[in-house]
């Protein structure tokens, strides 16, 4: 009996595993050939299911079969369009930009899906011929599972055959080795890239149809499958087809067995597995160690052209003016504009600090952390736990938040920094997801409800004041508790910025910048690169923890969503939007993003679509971010006029911070009392 139960679980696992293989194989091929980390793959998978739903209805009983053929073709076509229109211009850039771009596309596609098909789940079932159980050797099991396993295995075999035994596969593999060489042989490699992307997308589409009929269709199916798919690809080794197959089946079976036999580890086990594998074999199970060597020579990150147009003195004055202006905001709240402005700006400032912390490692040391929300989230949880169980002191809670986040960053950094490039991004993502899933498991973290009911006072050892009890009045001007908290946040953010700036101007920071330029060269002039990166990571984690702690103090609650990977994605978006490697750029980016998201989300239901589109355009056309926009414009204009000045030595007025100030003003005027959705 136990044997039969085990066999059933194995088959369940195999069923899911085969679907994973199809998704992961597409991801892996796309990475192997084009070095593109395709975040939108999950959404393509979901599209496969939705197209199937739309196609199946008119055809009745044969609907499923029509969908199974046509839907993947449609998804493949969409994949090719995506490659052609958005990814192709970015091939020469660092793989980070592919991550960013496809992340933006996730927002776009996901919202398009909900616009067309709504937010509700949809029913979709296998055709009558495949439903119902079947008995083989006295063992009864669902026919459809056998169908999935059989057809999936067949497709995987087909894909393998195409890649290894056909001329198409040969060219594609050669192109993965050396793109230029293949082009010099007179082969239009770009066309093959488009086809490969379409092929990978079609595989995801098939997986979507098949799994949609198995589990039903809902809008979150894309975002829930993409992370396990990445885990599988990384586990097996990026670019390795064999790795995708072994990883996919292994993860499917492991998940299925864990769910039944050790439910506590459900949702944790795959991340633990991935972390363990990467620590032992930094390039995955079947990964080619040469990939890492390749990554080293890749094009660098495009940092913001900070202050290209203004001298240091002017920039200093503008910065001071911005802070002064921000400091005045609470004085007018409730009289000149709605008190909501203060709430919104508090939100902006907290995000700005979070973005600053990411810039510290990403913009300076070149460490792309895809799981930075874990430090923000852990800071928030630590602060609330301290308030609930240790003492209600807010400063103490912030200290605890910083300390816990720094400690976590030390652990994660210690384990992760030995793996490089894309693998580093993925391992941080895995750690963040691990933590996200962990907070659901424990009582002391409040499970899925999170924690709330804190009542912080500002002081130590029981002596202090509660902000909400104070009213500071200066004649007509009244500052409420929210206003006072705003000042607390402003002080922390300005302090954090000044500190970070100081560090970047000191020997430590100068080495980080060197690391971003060239890691190899930095070690060849005598710096222990790994140690520098680890220390930077701890500092960054501490800053992120501070920002999380401030969030907890302001909102009075924490929830698991603080740790979700989409939040990590959002902060990366802000950082790039503003212009990384400038410290203030990401803060501007946070201001624009948060304000924009807030304004748009109150008027437009599908704000992610708008935001995602804007972001995609930014990644393609303005990769150096908002702060470099003026310098870029001036240099373009100069070139147009045939003028001699390049962006770096042009000394025009106006300039980047004028733009910055404009953005901040915009934030201040946005007084519409809409609900903050984040």
């Amino acid at each position: 009996m136990a044997g039969a139960a085990l066999a059933e679980q194995l088959l369940n696992g195999l069923t899911i595993g085969v679907v994973y293989v199809l998704i992961a194989a597409g991801l892996s091929i796309i990475f192997g050939v084009m070095d593109v980390i395709n975040f939108v793959h999950g959404e393509l998978f979901a599209l496969g299911a939705y197209f199937a739903f739309a196609l199946a209805a008119p055809f009745g009983g044969a609907g499923f079969w029509v969908a199974l053929v046509v839907s993947p073709l449609l998804v493949g076509a969409i994949g090719m369009a995506i490659e052609r229109l958005t990814i192709r211009p970015l091939y020469d850039r660092n793989p980070l930009y592919h991550i960013l771009l496809t992340f933006g596309l996730v927002l776009v596609v996901a919202d398009l899906v909900t616009i067309v098909w709504g937010r509700q789940g949809l029913p979709f079932s296998p055709p009558p011929a495949l439903s119902g159980p079947i008995s083989i050797f006295g063992f009864t099991y669902a026919t459809y599972n056998y169908f999935i396993v059989g057809s999936g295995a067949l497709l995987a075999l087909l894909a393998w055959y195409v890649l290894t035994r056909t001329r198409f596969g040969l060219i594609v593999r050669a192109g993965a080795q050396d793109r230029e060489m293949v082009r010099d042989l007179g082969i239009d490699i770009d066309r093959y890239y488009t086809l490969v992307f379409g092929f990978g997308a079609a595989l995801a589409g098939i997986a979507g149809v098949v799994l949609g009929a198995y589990q039903g269709i809902d809008p979150s199916m894309g975002s829930s499958v993409i992370i396990p798919a990445f885990v599988i690809v990384v586990l097996g080794g990026l670019g390795s087809f064999r790795g995708a197959v072994v990883g996919g089946l292994g993860v499917g079976i492991l998940q299925s067995l864990t769910r039944v036999y050790v439910p506590f580890f459900e949702g944790l086990v795959i991340y633990l597995l991935m972390i363990a594998v990467l620590l032992v074999r930094p390039t995955g199970l079947f990964g080619d160690p040469e990939w890492n060597a390749d990554a080293e020579t890749d094009a660098g990150l495009l940092v913001g052209r900070a202050g290209g147009l203004l001298d240091a003195r002017t920039r200093y004055r503008l910065g001071a003016a911005c802070v002064a202006l921000l400091a005045l905001v609470p004085l007018g709240a409730g009289r000149l504009y709605s008190p909501f402005v203060v709430t919104l700006l508090t939100d902006v400032l907290i995000w700005a600090l979070f973005a600053l912390s990411l810039d510290f490692v990403m913009g300076y040391a070149g460490l792309v952390s895809l799981g930075h929300a874990m430090f923000y989230g852990i800071g928030a949880y630590a602060a609330v736990l301290s308030l609930l169980h240790v003492d209600g002191s807010a400063p103490l809670a912030l200290v605890v938040a910083v300390a816990v986040a720094a400690a976590l960053a030390w652990v994660v950094g210690y384990l992760s920094i030995r793996v490089s490039g894309v693998y580093f991004a993925m391992i941080t993502l895995a750690f963040a997801q691990l933590l996200y899933n962990l907070v659901f498991k424990f009582d002391f973290t409040g499970g899925s409800d999170g924690l709330f009911g804190v009542d912080p006072y500002y002081g130590l050892g029981g002596v202090g004041v509660r902000l909400q009890e104070i009213q500071v009045g200066l004649g007509a001007v009244q500052i409420t508790g929210d206003g006072l908290f705003y000042y607390v946040v402003l002080a922390c953010v300005v302090g954090g910025y000044l500190l970070a700036r100081r560090v970047m101007g000191a020997p430590f920071g100068s080495v980080l910048r060197a690391i971003r330029e060239s890691e190899t060269r930095t070690s060849f002039i005598g710096y222990d690169v790994t140690t520098y990166k680890r220390r930077a990571f701890v500092a960054s984690g501490a800053l992120a923890g501070l920002s999380g702690g401030l969030f907890a103090l302001g909102e009075g609650f924490v929830a698991p969503s603080l740790l979700y990977w989409l939040r990590s994605g959002e902060v990366i978006v802000m950082t790039v939007l503003g212009g990384m490697g400038t410290l203030y750029g990401p803060m501007v980016g946070a201001g624009v993003y948060v304000t924009f998201a807030d304004l748009v989300s109150s008027d437009v239901a599908y704000w992610r679509l708008v935001l995602g589109s804007v972001f995609v355009l930014f990644v393609v056309f303005v990769p150096r971010g908002l702060v470099s926009l003026p310098a870029t414009l001036v240099s373009t204009l100069d070139r147009g006029r045939g003028g001699p000045g390049s962006a770096t030595d042009a000394r025009a007025d106006g300039g980047s911070l004028a733009r910055t100030e404009g953005d901040e003003d915009e934030e201040k005027e946005s007084g519409s009392a809409s609900e903050a959705t984040r």
Partner: protein
């Protein structure tokens, strides 16, 4: 160059020199030329010489690196006396770059050891070897393109002068406030005549200037031993002459190991030459001896000559 080497070379070095000068029949007498004999010899010398002054600034013992089936560097034992200008030549794929990678620590050897100044550095990471006086210039210039010329040099100076920094200084004190680093940076920039361009981003430099900057970075780390990987690649005859003159000038006190394809140049500047062929040491000797060596001519000069 040669007079300098002769004046600096210590007793042991002179010994080796005499052996080498014997030319083609050196193989039976000279340690460092015969691969099999050297391993045993080297081990004893490592034990006896590690705490006394080693005449060799750089020495490898049985250095081997395999990539799967391929043996890129095969049981290589070379010894370079202090102050010598040594060149490493060989056809493409002879293992020159891999040898550099093994000496600098970019790759770890499958077998064998590397000694700097008599100290075994085989287990040390790249950065630690730099602090022991080993510097490398790259075949493809890898200056920090986004940073200013001055910052490129200053970072190198900071690496060797900043080891005593307290944590708070390293974290919070402005880089401009460290006098010794600033002084060395300026001195080095003067030396390579890049001072006028110090505030330009390094990637804006012309090719020749970028190679000078590469040299400036090497110089700023105050090296004892410098590995030069084709420092004149892609240069015109005139630029090559100027660069070699500059190297001769600014690196006069250093022990140098040069990888170079230009045979005439190598013959001109080297004190001694080591020829690699298929990862093995084929011959070591003075330029004249190498030019007259039949096995070298057969394997290299007569064969694939770039």
């Amino acid at each position: 160059m040669k007079p300098r080497a002769a004046s600096i070379v210590t007793d042991g070095g002179v010994d080796a020199e005499t052996n080498i000068d014997a030319g083609t029949d050196r193989a039976d007498e000279t340690p460092g030329a015969d691969n099999t004999a050297v391993v045993g010899e080297g081990e004893t010398s490592a034990e006896t010489q590690s705490d006394t002054a080693d005449p060799d600034a750089l020495r490898t013992e049985g250095l081997t690196r395999r990539f799967g089936e391929l043996v890129a560097v095969d049981d290589l034992s070379i010894a370079i006396p202090r102050g010598e200008f040594r060149s490493l030549i060989g056809p493409n794929g002879a293992g020159k770059t891999t040898t550099f990678d093994l000496i600098t620590g970019a790759l770890s050897p499958s077998a064998g050891r590397v000694f700097l100044d008599g100290q075994d550095v085989t287990a040390l990471p790249v950065a630690d070897r730099v602090h022991r006086g080993l510097a490398r210039s790259f075949q493809i210039t890898t200056v920090f393109g986004g940073l200013s010329v001055r910052e490129n040099v200053r970072l190198a100076a900071q690496s060797v002068l900043g080891t005593e920094l307290r944590p708070h200084e390293s974290l919070f004190r402005s880089t401009a406030s460290f006098e010794p680093m600033t002084e060395r940076t300026t001195a080095v920039l003067d030396r390579v005549e890049l001072r006028e361009r110090a505030d330009e981003p390094a990637r804006a430099l012309a090719y020749g200037d970028r190679r000078r900057l590469e040299l400036a970075i090497v110089l700023a780390t105050d090296p004892q031993v410098v590995l030069l990987d084709e420092p004149t690649a892609g240069m015109s005859a005139e630029e090559t002459r100027a660069t070699m003159a500059l190297i001769d000038d600014v690196l006069a006190d250093c022990t140098i190991l040069l990888v170079e394809h230009d045979i005439d140049l190598v013959m001109d500047v080297s004190d001694r030459i080591t020829v690699l062929h298929q990862g093995r040491e084929l011959a070591t000797g003075s330029p004249e001896a190498i030019a007259g060596d039949e096995s070298v001519q057969e394997a290299y000069l007569g064969g694939v000559r770039e």
